[in-house]
């Protein structure tokens, strides 16, 4: 295990009930990489991310974050997360955009510490980065689904994580903002050196922006550089996606 790996997944198998949802999944993400994780619905992508975040415990295998097994990992503020279900929260919750984004600093700040000027500036900056400055005093429940998603992205980046994990973060976000958002991710990745793991169905973006690709469908079908992925034959992909290929090739 080198220090150069932000994330390492070793022979991980996971099942909710009887059947394995993940089977013997092994891969690693070097620091500074941008990994696109693709796979059909129900292929275990979200499940894998939950294992990485310590929300689920795999029955077999090991996961390392920055070289530390996650059972011993304490510095969770180094990892940011945007969940697939981010906007399924209680929409009547009386919290402003500012308050929600600030809550992303909770773990980093630590117990018994209060927000200072520095944290407030970071919150402002993150809100600006997702273009929500105009809405910062609004209750989050009063925003559209796409706007809410942008707030959750801001919450994930406000703590300046070294590894950012995003589960289909752009669902419900319009084309213009998706473009902005991917540019922002690229910015974070290239200039700040943040390692990214992005689950998406948008294979077009994948080949354009990411450095590495992993294809998951219970097993890991492919893992390698983005350029190698682009060279994959259509046959290989159809074996992996099955009937989903047709839909996906439309998006190219």
């Amino acid at each position: 295990m080198t220090k150069e790996e932000a994330l390492k997944v070793e022979h991980v198998s996971f099942r909710y009930e009887k059947e394995n949802v993940l089977e013997d999944v092994t891969f690693s993400v070097p620091k500074g990489a941008f990994l696109g994780l693709v796979g059909p619905n129900g292929s275990g992508k979200s499940t894998l991310l939950k294992c990485i975040l310590g929300l689920l415990k795999p029955q077999q295998g090991n996961i390392f974050l920055f070289g530390t097994p996650i059972s011993e990992f304490k510095e969770w503020h180094r990892v940011g997360f945007v969940s697939q279900k981010a906007n399924s929260f209680n929409t009547g919750f009386p919290a402003t955009v500012e308050e929600v984004v600030a809550s992303g600093l909770t773990a980093k700040l630590g117990l018994f510490r209060f927000f200072t000027r520095k944290e407030k500036d970071a919150v402002k900056e993150a809100i600006e980065a997702v273009g929500m400055t105009k809405f910062q005093k609004q209750n989050i429940g009063e925003l559209s689904g796409g706007q809410q998603q942008r707030v959750f992205i801001a919450r994930a980046i406000v703590s300046k994580p070294e590894l950012l994990i995003l589960d289909e973060p752009t669902v419900g976000v319009d084309v213009h903002h998706v473009q902005n958002f991917y540019n922002m991710l690229e910015e974070l990745n290239r200039h700040l050196g943040i390692t990214l793991v992005l689950v998406t169905h948008d294979v077009g973006t994948i080949t354009e922006k990411v450095t590495h690709v992993a294809c998951l469908n219970k097993h890991l079908y492919f893992h390698g550089k983005a350029a190698e992925f682009a060279e994959l034959q259509a046959d290989d992909l159809s074996a992996f996606y099955g009937h989903h290929l047709h839909v996906l090739s439309h998006q190219h």
């Binding site: 975040l53 310590g54 929300l55 990992f73 304490k74 510095e75 969770w76 503020h77 990892v79 997360f81 969940s83 279900k85 929260f89 209680n90 009547g92 919750f93 009386p94 919290a95 402003t96 500012e98 308050e99 929600v100 600030a102 809550s103 992303g104 600093l105 909770t106 773990a107 700040l109 117990l111 018994f112 209060f114 927000f115 005093k137 609004q138 209750n139 919450r155």
Partner: protein, 276 residues
């Protein structure tokens, strides 16, 4: 009443206790309501009743030293809160089931204790519906201590409690000690319920934790504002309720709760009216 307050200690006690409860019950209530746990307060208040009944029974039957029944009530309430947590983890997919289980358990126990004692005197009645004259100096000290603990805990754990309430999964993923914090929170709820019961009575405790909050989230922008409004509405109904009940010779608990209902109706109406 103000004149009388200088004269009678029991009125001063009731007033202090009321002001403190008007602060801490809605303060915790905000977190309870946004987490959709409103019924927990109800379940715990009935467990508290069982504790009080047990304490009164022991006093009557065994002639055990006359402890303040508040202590036993608090003990039962805290135990009940821990049991709810346990049940919530057993019934992962039916978490709300924990509440009726504890609630009926609480009532069942209370009824048994009460029947064993062949009924109690007015004492129990004052616990059920609240009473101004029943608040002793010792009660006030208990309530003061609980209020200090509650306010300090919310102050120091505010950002963790906010995160936990808003998004439990994210709270867990971000590595804060979510379970421990939730545990502290639920114990606080149990303590506040035991404390509030003196003034508003067991049957109405939960309303003081939920009604001011229900009014506040209609009008508040943001969480801090929701807390501020909740406490404001809570204090308004408690203080006005105590005065009114004294002057008109009504039960304080009922008066306070009906004032909360009025405030709630006004905010609903106000919001509609503002919209056009």
């Amino acid at each position: 009443m103000i004149e009388a307050m200088f004269q009678y200690e029991f009125l001063r006690n009731a007033f202090f206790a009321g002001v403190l409860i008007g602060l801490v019950a809605p303060l915790l209530g905000v977190f309870i309501v946004v987490r959709r746990l409103s019924l927990i307060a109800d379940a715990l208040s009935h467990v508290t009743l069982a504790g009080i009944a047990a304490s009164l029974l022991m006093e009557k039957k065994i002639g055990l030293l006359s402890w303040n029944p508040l202590y036993m009530g608090m003990g039962f309430s805290v135990a009940g809160s821990l049991l709810i947590e346990k049940l919530r983890s057993v019934y992962k997919h039916y978490q709300e089931l924990a509440i009726p289980i504890i609630l009926s358990g609480g009532i069942g126990l209370s009824v048994i204790f009460i029947s064993l004692a062949n009924g109690f005197n007015t004492d129990l009645f004052s616990y059920l519906f609240g009473s101004v004259s029943a608040v002793s100096r010792q009660d006030v000290w208990v309530i003061v201590s609980i209020a200090i603990v509650v306010v300090a805990t919310i102050w120091f754990l505010y950002k963790e409690l906010f995160l936990l309430s808003f998004d439990e999964e994210y709270a867990l993923a971000s590595g804060i000690r979510a379970r421990a914090i939730h545990f502290v929170f639920i114990v606080l709820v149990a303590l506040v319920i035991a404390a509030s019961m003196r003034i508003v009575g067991i049957l109405l405790v939960s309303s003081l934790m939920t009604l001011p909050v229900a009014a506040s989230i209609r009008v508040a922008k943001g969480f801090k504002q929701a807390i501020a409004y909740s406490v404001f509405f809570g204090e308004l109904s408690v203080i006005a309720g105590l005065f009114l009940s004294y002057e008109l010779d009504l039960a304080p608990g009922g008066t306070i709760v009906m004032l909360s209902v009025c405030i709630l109706l006004i905010t609903i109406w106000w919001k509609k009216w503002k919209r056009g």
